[in-house]
Symmetry: none
DNA sequence: AATGAATGAGCATTCATTCAT
DNA sequence: TATGAATGAATGCTCATTCAT
């Protein structure tokens, strides 16, 4: 039993293909929603034979879990970047959150919608719950006092703003979002 | 071309069957989610032949729209009842909203989940948008000043609390929700 | 809800197709064994689209049950014929049974093998048990005293001779079988 | 070209793994029937990679042959034990055979069913015929005069009793089987 | 000697929809 | 007005087998 994982940390052929499949899945969800994910649609998108999907992800749920984990990680990174850059601009915490939301609902809208759908799917599929927690952690990391009433309200509102923003036809601007975020953060000072 | 709808307002046989089909659809969504809705699954649930579904609802989207309208109306009625009864108990607006949420996430959890899924589907299917607005109106009717920043925060938070409550394993109690609702309503006095 | 079954007893279109499918299934089993039965193989053999199989026989087991019933009925009829014609020839009960066995293992070998496989499948699939009983009844009808020890031995031996005859490369002749059948029937006089 | 089989008769690593695979195959057949045998199902049961099956048994038939040989040998040993112990109890040849059958259809039912399925498969797969003969030899060894009519009847009946016993829901007891066996052996005294 | 990776073919089954009746 | 019958397309998934390592 010898492993093909390289000692130097580089990925094996299989790992690389797994990553390609996950990324193709994300593109499918962006385009057609979670309902559009099937062995065949992902295989078509990734340019691999359908049996290759089942080989690397024995059940379709396994693929969704891997995709949710990847998407949450990517979104966390992107959120970190946006907040960092708004810190440099000196727009304060409310500005940072508003810009994060505007980015999520504007330029990153597709990814956000994909992530949101996967996150909501956890309500029906217990297998996705642990992975969904990763995204909740991203949101939680936006604040510091998870037990405070005000912070719970803030968290719920962020979630609701994302939901509503995704249903609206036009994405909101950071300027439109800012007063609401400020209102929510004010009691937390 | 003659209409079968009676002048006296009583429903024709066809209308009654349409209603049965819509109710069967709601039960299917509660049990298996929107993804579980098909001509056949609904027909099985309603005890009618599959072709009967296509006959009354030419496309599947027509059925989903009718179901969303019915579910939103039912939920609005139920919300009205809960708020009315909490008014009698004298628990104030915050108490009323907290009890509405606890009811939606507890006893009415199945219906809430079904409605929420249909509501989110509107993001992908424009045909459902007008019907989805009905549910938004229910939420909006909980407050009075739709233009205020505080109210927008409140609305978003209600939405987020419903989303998070549906993903959590255990439904929250009204007592747990009350302080958050009070916190959100306080600036609106 | 009106039925398409003709008042005059003639079969509906659906019934006719069901019969064609069952007969195609029998041919597939003769050629490739029960293991060769699939929606696709039967559809190919019957010259109908695969979905037609599922329409008329929701699960594959339903098709196997219908096939077992038909095959047992056909074999019962054939057995009756052989025994009747041997009675005319005056060869007595033992001769009749020997000729039945020779026919089953010779000219009707394919059908016998098919029926036998279906019959044995009942050991694994409870759904086939009631239908398998039909074939047992055919064998039982060869004798009259089902409770007698001698008759139980006779029945078991008939079954065993069929099994062994199907495994042997060359089918046995009635003349070869006759003494064994006589030996088994002797104590039953 | 050098052989790894040790001169001293001890098994090489490869031989041990082959044996493990055969035993896993037997367990699969007991549980799901011959139809459940595949490279993958056996590999799962044995806890080895699928390619290991193909490596040791180039075609699936090779695996089935090896399994049939092993199963027949095991059953022969078990039959010998049962007959020996019934000889000690002094229950005579008929008692010995009845107890062998009761054991085969009761405690050893799973193995018997597996062996029987493999044995019948020989009717379709010529590659299994030589191995199937081993099991026939076990049955034959129960008697001494293979040419006698009475013995042919006895052999066929043993086979039929096994078949019928496997299809019945409840295994028969030795006491129930004894009179039939005595009836069959009586003329052979 | 042994096994990860891969894949084309096939599986049972469900589907939305059409159409003759 | 309703519904049995029908079907092409798609679903998730398993399969035997090959091959590079």
């Amino acid at each position: 039993m010898r492993s093909y994982r390289r000692v130097d940390g580089r990925k094996t052929r299989g790992d690389r293909r797994k990553q390609e499949i996950v990324e193709a899945t994300l593109r499918v969800i962006e385009r057609e929603g979670v309902a559009g994910v099937s062995h065949r649609s992902v295989a078509r998108e990734a340019g691999v034979p359908p049996a290759s999907i089942t080989y690397h992800f024995p059940a379709l749920d396994d693929l969704l879990v891997a995709t949710l984990v990847t998407a949450a990680a990517e979104m966390a990174a992107r959120t970190g970047d946006v907040i960092e850059s708004s810190r440099i601009k000196g727009s304060g915490p409310a500005g940072a959150v508003a810009e994060m939301l505007a980015d999520a609902l504007g330029p990153s809208r597709g990814r956000t919608a994909a992530l949101h759908e996967l996150y909501l799917l956890a309500a029906r599929r217990p297998a996705l719950r642990p992975a969904a927690r990763l995204w909740i952690d991203v949101l939680t990391s936006l604040g510091r006092q998870p037990d405070e009433v005000g912070f719970r309200a803030f968290l719920a509102a962020i979630d609701g703003m994302l939901t509503q923003g995704l249903i609206d036809d036009e994405p909101p601007t950071a300027a439109e979002l800012l007063p609401v975020v400020e209102h929510l953060l004010a009691p937390l000072r």
